[in-house]
Every structure is written in C-alpha cells, then in structure tokens.
C-alpha cells in the first residue's frame, strides 16, 4: 500500500484538456472552477433525485471531501433514504446544486471518500455496497488523448454500478458525457443523444431493442456499442451491426461474484471456445456440468467481497450459475442454471412467484417457468392447478389482480395457464425446467 492518498475525482480531472467538454457546453476548466470553495472535509452525504448533469457535478465536488457519498437511486422513498443515511452514517442530503454550497465543514482531515451504492432489488431491501474511486475505476481507460472527442451517451441510471461506470469512463477518459434526463421518454432521450453526436453507447440487450424502435436511432453516429447485463443474442448483434456499420459491437460478460469480466467483439453470440484454453484478460474459464466457472488469475484478493468466498472451489474457480453449451467453436449462454429468470435484465426467483400464487385460495398447485421473449429475453409464465371448487373462469383475472398487488411488474406471470396436474419428480418435488 502506498502512503500517498489516492487522487480525488476533482484532482484526476486535471489530466484532461481544460478546454475539453465534460458535459455539453461545460468545459473541464469551468466544471473544476464551479466546485472550488467547498470545505475540505464534510460529513457523509446522500445524493438524491439529482438530474444526471447535476449528479456529475456533485460527484466531482464531493469526492475527496465527503466521508461517504451514498448514491440513492431516483424514486427512493424518504424512509428508505433515511435508512441509507443511518446505515452509511450520513449527516447531509444533496438534492439540488444549491444544497452543495450549504454543506458545513466537518472536523478532522479529508480521507478517500467511501462511495456507497445500493444493489438492485425492487421488493427486497437493497444491500448497500461500499466502494472507493480506485475500486470503481479499476477497468477505466484513462488515456485522455485517446478519449478526447468521444461522446458517451448515458441511458443507464448513473446511481447504479453500470451507469456509474459510463460516467467515470467519460470523465476520466477525457471524453464528453451526454446525459439526457432519465425521466424523459426513451424516444426523446435517443433524439437528444443523436443531436449531441453520441459516439459511444452502452445498454442491456432489452434496452438496445427498444433503442432500435425509436425513430431517431438511425441517426446516432455510433462508433462503439456495448451490451451487458443479459445474454446478447445473434439476431440483435446482427441488427446492431447492420444499423451501425461504423460501430464496433462489444458484448460484455461479467461475474460480480468473481469480480471479473471480459468483452467479446467478433459480432457473434457467446464467446470463442478457445477462451477455455486462453483466458481473456486473465479470466480463466471452465465448463463443468453445463455451467460456467470462472477464476480471476490476476490481482488475487483485490476485489470487494473476496472474503465472502465460501463458494470458491479448491482451484479457486467460482460457479457463475450461468448454464452454457459448447457448440462448435463457440460457448453459448443458455440462461441461469438455478432457474432464476432474467426478464429484461431483472432477476426473478420462480419460488417467490410460486409462493405468492399459492397464497391465493383458488390455487392448489403452481409451477412458475419462463418463456423465451424476443423483446425481454424471457417472460415469467405460470401453470396453475385450480383448487377444487375454484371458479376457473374468474381465476385468471383474480390472479392477475393478486399478483399486481404483491409482485413487481417483471415478476408477474405474463401468461397464466390453468391445467390439471403438475409434474412431480419421484421425490415429490416440482419438476422445474432449466432454461431452454
């Protein structure tokens, strides 16, 4: 460990050309000047409900000054925010740029800021995960000469890990961040990105399919397209290459459990079989019993959550839980081996949906499964055996209302089928089909 305190985000911006735009119409010099004059050390701060451009200013202003920065996702309710503030020991909230100017100095010396992100989760209480600027920017490219002139579009929520990666890449790579308001409808956001000359854009496959449906998408001057968070299918990769012939198309595989990731840029779904022998970016890969196992062969012990490694085998491999198939010279992703259903990038546990359905008096037995969707990758389906005496006619409608009250939209079965008896294994367990 070095004795030198790592540079703050504000200090790291000094590597950029002062005249380069950080945000459209905002030069690096102007941004840096706008965050001068704050106390050198302030207590923990919860950032909430900031539009993306203000959010970026607040990050630059407070990293290296605040003890902690909690990035509250938009729409987080007041009680949850208060809970975040208590758990991360934050005394202040910043909801507008005005609030920044009123933060009081705290005693003691400034130390590297702890960045606190909430894990996704719409119904269960989100976990808070601590990071530092150094850990968040481990894979950020910081060659500002190469990054000059690139215009990164932000479609993700910047308070989440994937969105924050885009923000930090634009800032530290010498590029410009285009961040249309998250609450605006997608066609408007895509129009704004096209108008502002977006060259680099990252989104989930589900979001890319929606982007391609917007009238303005054809005029995006894209040079780099990144897909992550879900399986990228061949049809989508082909469509992106055809629509944006100038762009390099990369799909990312990342395992948060193992703290590793690599990207595939040959325009084909899955990854080349030779990666099993030649680890891409130091990520060793194995296929065992139809599942992908990964091991980071570099910087061992450097990742957050490393101590929580009971699932590591003797050779250090971690089960990603992804079902894969080796077909010819490719390894293809099939879905989650555990039966977790990925609906447009959001995870659904079938057991949870089954429990909700079983709580309805008209349901005797239920099996929740999935059906492939060309739009969201998968949809939740349910096969229901009505309880004796249940009015089958009204049951579907009742179950819909029941699920709407208790489940998030992506968790609700999109298709409900009423059937006689469900298949059981010899041990009496529900037969659950693994992803197709």
């Amino acid at each position: 460990m070095s004795d030198l305190a790592p540079l703050s985000l504000r200090e790291r911006l000094a590597a950029r050309d002062p005249a380069s735009e950080v945000l459209p119409g905002v030069s690096t010099a102007a941004l840096r000047a706008s965050v001068e004059g704050l106390p050198a050390h302030v207590a923990g701060v919860v950032l909430r409900d900031l539009d993306p451009a203000s959010f970026v200013r607040a990050l630059v202003a407070l990293d290296g000054r605040a003890e902690s920065l909690v990035l509250a996702p938009p729409g987080t309710d007041a009680a949850v925010q208060a809970d975040y503030a208590a758990r991360a020991r934050c005394a202040h909230q910043v909801a507008t740029l005005e609030d920044l100017a009123h933060l009081p100095a705290a005693p003691g010396e400034a130390a590297p800021t702890r960045w606190v992100l909430a894990t996704s989760g719409t119904t269960a209480a989100p976990k808070l995960v601590g990071h530092t600027l150094a850990s968040l920017t481990r894979s950020t490219r910081t060659d500002v000469a190469r990054g000059a002139g690139l215009r990164w579009g932000l479609l993700y929520d910047p308070t989440r890990y994937a969105g924050l990666q885009v923000v930090l890449q634009a800032l530290l790579g010498g590029s410009t961040l285009l961040a249309p308001p998250l609450a605006a409808p997608l066609p408007e956001r895509v129009s704004a990105l096209a108008r502002d000359g977006c060259t680099h854009l990252s989104a989930t496959p589900t979001l890319w399919r929606r982007v391609l449906m917007t009238p303005a998408s054809a005029s995006l001057p894209l040079r780099q397209i990144t897909l992550g968070g879900e399986i990228a299918d061949q049809a989508l990769l082909d469509r992106l290459s055809a629509t944006f012939p100038e762009a390099r198309v990369a799909h990312i595989f990342a395992s948060t459990e193992a703290g590793v990731g690599f990207s595939v840029t040959d325009g084909k779904a899955g990854f080349p079989r030779r990666y099993l022998e030649e680890p891409p970016r130091g990520v060793a890969l194995r296929v065992r019993e139809g599942r992908l196992f990964v091991k980071n062969t570099r910087v061992l012990g450097a990742y957050l959550g490393e101590e929580d490694s009971t699932f590591r085998d003797a050779e250090g491999f971690v089960d990603t839980g992804d079902a894969v198939e080796v077909r010819g010279d490719r390894v293809l992703f099939l879905g989650r081996a555990s039966g977790v259903i990925n609906v447009g990038g959001q995870k659904v546990h079938p057991e949870r949906v089954e429990a909700v359905l079983l709580a309805h008096p008209g349901v005797a037995a239920v099996r929740v499964g999935q059906r492939r969707s060309p739009i969201t990758g998968a949809l939740v389906t349910a096969e229901v055996t009505p309880a004796p005496g249940a009015a089958a006619g009204a049951l579907k409608r009742e179950l819909r209302a029941h699920c709407a009250a208790l489940l998030a939209p992506h968790e609700r079965p999109a298709l409900v089928r009423l059937s006689g008896a469900l298949r059981m294994s010899p041990a009496g367990k529900l037969v659950r089909e693994v992803a197709p």
Binding site: P185, L186, P187, T206, L207, R209, R210, L212, M213, T214, P215, A235, L236, D238, R239, A242, V343, G344, R371, R372, S373, P374, I375, T376, L379, R400, P409, H410, A414, L415
Partner: protein
C-alpha cells in the same frame, strides 16, 4: 384480420399492464410513445403468438424493430404463414 387482432390484444395488454384506457392506434402511432414499456411489449408479442400461431420476431431471419403501429401490422402481415399452410 391481423390488424384487428393486433388492436384487440394491444388494448387488452395495455389495460392490464399499463393501466387506464388504451390509446387509439393509427398507422403513424409511435409504439414507444403509446405508454407501453418493453415488458408490456414483450407480453404483447407473446400473447399475439398464442393468438395468431406465429411470432415474426423469432421467425424473421434478421431482427426487426418496428417503430410505428403501421410497421408492426406490416411486419406481422409479411410473416404470416400462408392460408394454405394454416388450413
């Protein structure tokens, strides 16, 4: 036939998923501006597959992303199995 099925299933899914009264659809209606999100759109495509017996998004060799209701209808019509095959 396909147009009326699309309109009817769209209305059903909209009312269930987005809530409220479904907007009137014209050929020029931009799908993403109707208020149906991608999950709603995914449900629409799946219900239509059950209703019509085919899913052009999966059958088309190339992924196509219709932007307006008119394009969606044309897309389904272009990929409909011929009457002879379904008879």
């Amino acid at each position: 036939m396909i147009r009326s099925t699309l309109t009817q299933v769209f209305t059903e899914v909209f009312e269930e998923h987005a809530g409220g009264e479904a907007p009137a659809l014209a050929d020029a209606s931009v799908l993403l501006e109707t208020g149906l999100d991608s999950l709603g759109f995914a449900i629409l495509v799946t219900r239509l597959e059950d209703e019509l017996g085919f899913d052009p998004f999966t059958e088309a060799a190339d992924a196509v992303y219709p932007r307006t209701f008119g394009e969606l209808v044309a897309f389904y019509e272009a990929h409909a199995p011929s009457l002879r095959e379904t008879a």
